[in-house]
């Protein structure tokens, strides 16, 4: 038999090896799943991982990759700060929706005024909206000791209802002939989060995501705030002893992660999505949780993980349309990734030792 024992120090090798092994295991078991579903697993994996990057239509998929990866990365960076401090914001999806609604609401209210700084104002409104939505569970936690996991998650459903109400009511396009959904912001030049360089998928959200990665990296490695954050997560009592105020930490982390999620929502609604619609949100807020962990809660790791996850989204669409794989199959595939990652994670801090048989 084997015994699991704690390593004296975390294994640096496994810290980075675990995600790689997790991806490989996901390929093996995901491939098996595809095979059971009657699809050639090798072909499916090729379509997921190879085709979007180097296939015949890569010119179309590569920009898509950026468009999908940017919100994931932006949200995951925010979440990772909280996760590092032991603050579990599971409701980024809701903050994403509220951010989008606030920003879009501002634009729709000013329509059709052309204003040079409208998009920046929308970004700020989106960030504030998301931050406030994130602060609801934070305040409830510090005031009444509620569980932020539960509250933030439940607020996602509240946000979804709000989104539906907005799309069907207040923000509905008055010239939309009764169809649900708002005016299309893509047709409102001041509010449109357009591609910076045409045909690349590079919009302002991508820029914001990259800035967030760099900023988070520097703050975590060089600033006392990052240090306090890491202490809070690793040893809350020691953090308190060091002088970290846990209440403030909860508020700041939930505010930042909510704000970044809100910003991501705004970039999406003002850009690729274009309008407030019932099904505007597609789960970026939840997938970002996987991205954050897949990236070891490390900014650079999150950057890579976000791209990888975007790849599975796009690859998933390809397998869906070309091979008839159900959407659920690709979702299971993504779920496997997190599952294997968490399982492999054990090896960073623990190791297996064969146990000698002993008469207890």
């Amino acid at each position: 038999m084997f015994k699991i024992e704690k390593r004296p120090i975390p294994s640096g090798k496994w810290n980075w090896g675990a995600p790689v092994v997790a991806v490989l295991l996901t390929m093996v078991f995901g491939g098996a799943l595809f095979a059971v579903l009657g699809v050639n697993p090798f072909l499916a994996l090729e379509k997921i991982f190879y085709e979007p990057l180097f296939g015949e239509y890569a010119f179309y998929y590569r920009p898509q990759l950026m468009v999908k990866a940017a919100p994931l990365i932006l949200i995951a960076i925010g979440l990772s700060l909280g996760f590092r401090a032991g603050i579990w914001n599971i409701g980024a999806e809701g903050q994403y929706i509220i951010g989008a609604l606030c920003g879009a609401g501002l634009a729709l209210a000013l329509y059709p005024m052309e204003l040079f700084i409208l998009l920046p104002l929308m970004v700020i409104a989106g960030a504030i909206g998301g931050a406030l939505w994130g602060l609801i569970p934070a305040v409830l936690k510090v005031r009444f000791g509620t569980n932020e996991i539960l509250v933030s998650l439940m607020l996602v459903y509240v946000a979804e209802q709000l989104l539906a109400s907005m799309a069907l009511g207040l923000m509905k396009n008055p010239e939309g002939m009764g169809f649900p959904g708002s005016r299309n912001l893509q047709q409102y030049p001041s509010a449109h989060n357009a591609e910076i360089i045409s045909g690349t998928g590079m919009h302002w959200g991508v820029v914001a995501a990259l800035i967030a990665v760099i900023f988070a990296y520097i703050v975590l490695s060089r600033h006392m705030f990052g240090f306090s954050l890491r202490m809070s997560g690793m040893a809350p009592r020691a953090a308190r002893f060091a002088g970290v105020n846990p209440t403030r930490m909860v508020l700041i982390c939930m505010g930042i992660s909510g704000g970044l999620a809100g910003m991501a929502g705004l970039f999406e609604i003002a850009g690729p999505a274009g309008q407030v619609s019932i099904d505007f949100n597609v789960g970026y807020g939840f997938t970002a949780i996987i991205v954050a962990f897949l990236g070891r809660l490390n900014p650079i790791g999150i950057l890579l993980a976000g791209v990888l996850m975007a790849l599975t989204y796009i690859g998933g669409e390809i397998t869906q349309s070309q091979m008839g794989l159900p959407l659920a199959a690709i979702q299971v595939f993504q779920g496997m990734l997190l599952f294997f990652l968490l399982a492999m994670d054990l090896l960073t801090n623990y190791r297996f030792r064969p146990t000698a048989k002993e008469a207890a």
Binding site: P8, I9, R222, H223, M224, F227, M234, A242, N245
Partner: protein, 506 residues
């Protein structure tokens, strides 16, 4: 008396670096209330864990009703009629009393039947408890009743109770004692673990006293005074104090007055009306049995818990409402008892841990931006000056042995030239040479004019380094008395709860 219910003979259990139990033997008769008395770390827990099948002894034998008793697991121990109520309850808040009881049983009867049984037992033993209430709504005393009833439903021959009164109000203690006496009258033996001397004197028929893993004596507690019991518990090997410097004339460095603090968490101890005065260059030793407010006092002094500004004064300045960082800036430093997770972050490197408290006074961060090279240099200085055995400052704190990490933690504070340093259990679990080095460092610091509060359960240590001595007892601090000339009996009384010396003649 016929065959003893349980006999222990020569039980020995060693852990790496420490012999928890060394050749312990005693008997428990049927229906006897037997106290197991000893300081923290005396080996009480290990001993009962062996009886309850959680730990297997290295050597020695047990018999139950004359038959060899080798429980391989708590299940086996329960099957043989040994039940245990732990100090910390294992109950589910969201479930009802009956559901919780059912979870702890091997073959629970249906809920309705079980509720009736619970009612019967609770009536029979005077333990008022409604089986349908949710455990989350119960007081600590009621929760303990759930645990006790869970045990009683299995009809135990021996009931082990681990510090059962630490979470109870005096009224609840009365109820518990009535129950225990009734059980004992019906023939159930009780092994009662505690360090509360008066309780043991009033409840227990016999007491076995452990010190440093060895059995010191078995006695009839009612025939001994609290002071005699305390003396047996802590030993008489105290050395005379080496220091007798009179510093009472020098300036006051730290003054605490009328400090009351409710416990930060369930099962914590409230601080009650703590008053102390500490002079420059003085070492104040604070003794007391664990769990009497040591952690809480440290937190109140370090700034982890806040109070009214004037309740804590540092060099005359009110600091009670300031957090740890502000107090550090003013020169009030602390080193908590728990090295891993409180004084240091286990998974962080020594450099990062040096930064943890060093950042304030050593200016390792300008505008929040960390100067890692300076922090690393400081970690190296601590390692060098305090002889911390480690490959280097990049090593994670958890990789260090207890003694080495403790030297690092103490060194980290001492090298910051504090005006007042508060340490809790500075040499707990540390080998003798490291302990001597740490004590010397504290004395050197005091010689340079710093004032030191040393909270410890090691009386030898306190006598060795303190100028004055006070004891914590249920969150109250006795008046500090000059350490020189204190007798072991006086110390025992200060720790044992008799406030003032008039109560000495029990």
């Amino acid at each position: 008396m016929g065959t003893p219910l349980l006999t222990l003979s020569g039980l020995t259990k060693a852990y790496p670096g420490v012999v928890a139990n060394d050749d312990v033997s005693f008997d428990i008769q049927q229906g006897e209330v037997h106290a197991l008395l000893g300081e923290n770390g005396a080996g009480k827990s290990t001993l009962v864990k062996m009886i309850y099948g959680l730990v297997s002894p290295d050597s020695g034998k047990m018999t139950l009703n004359g038959a060899p008793f080798v429980p391989a697991s708590p299940n086996a121990a329960r099957a043989a009629g040994v039940a245990m109520v732990f100090q910390h309850f294992s109950l589910f808040d969201a479930l009802s009393v009956a559901e919780n009881v059912a979870l702890g049983m091997d073959n629970p009867p249906p809920q309705g039947e079980l509720a009736t049984k619970i009612r019967t037992v609770s009536d029979a033993y005077g333990l008022p408890l409604d089986p349908h209430r949710t455990v989350g709504d119960l007081s600590a005393g009621e929760r303990q009743r759930v645990e006790i009833i869970r045990c009683l439903l299995q009809d135990p021959k021996l009931l082990i109770m681990d510090e059962p009164t630490s979470v109870l109000t005096p009224q609840e203690v009365e109820i518990l004692f009535k129950t225990l006496r009734k059980l004992s009258a019906e023939g159930t033996a009780i092994l009662y673990i505690s360090h509360k001397l008066e309780e043991i004197r009033s409840l227990c028929d016999n007491a076995t006293i452990l010190r440093l893993g060895k059995k010191v004596a078995t006695c009839i507690p009612a025939q001994k005074t609290a002071a005699e019991l305390a003396e047996m518990m802590v030993g008489t090997s105290l050395k005379p104090p080496k220091r007798a410097a009179d510093v009472s004339s020098s300036e006051v460095a730290l003054h605490v007055s009328g400090l009351n603090l409710p416990p930060a968490q369930a099962f914590g101890t409230s601080l009650r009306d703590i008053t102390l005065t500490l002079h420059k260059g003085e070492v104040l030793g604070i003794g007391g049995v664990a769990g009497n407010g040591q952690d809480e006092l440290l937190a109140a002094l370090s700034g982890e818990r806040l109070c009214a500004a004037e309740q804590v004064r540092l060099n005359g300045k009110p600091v009670g409402n300031l957090g740890p960082t502000a107090r550090r800036r003013l020169g009030l430093l602390a080193a908590p008892e728990e090295r891993l997770g409180h004084a240091a972050v286990p998974d962080m490197s020594l450099t990062e841990n040096a930064l943890l408290t060093g950042v304030t006074r050593q200016a390792f961060a300008k505008g929040g931006w960390i100067n890692w090279a300076a922090a690393k240099g400081y970690a190296e200085r601590i390692i060098h000056q305090f002889d911390v055995r480690t490959p280097g400052p990049h090593v994670a704190a958890r990789a260090l042995s207890g003694g080495n990490l403790q030297k690092f933690v103490i060194g980290r504070e001492v090298l910051q030239a504090p005006h007042v340093l508060v340490v809790n259990q500075p040499t707990w679990g540390v080998d003798a040479s490291a302990a001597a080095a740490i004590r010397q460092a504290l004395l050197d610091l005091a010689a340079e004019g710093a004032a030191i509060v040393c909270i410890s359960q090691d009386l030898d240590e306190l006598m060795e380094i303190s100028d004055r001595f006070a004891a914590l007892n249920e969150g109250r601090l006795t008046q500090a008395r000059p350490a020189a000339g204190l007798t072991i009996e006086e110390i025992g009384l200060m720790m044992g709860g008799a406030h003032g010396m008039e109560a000495a003649h029990v």
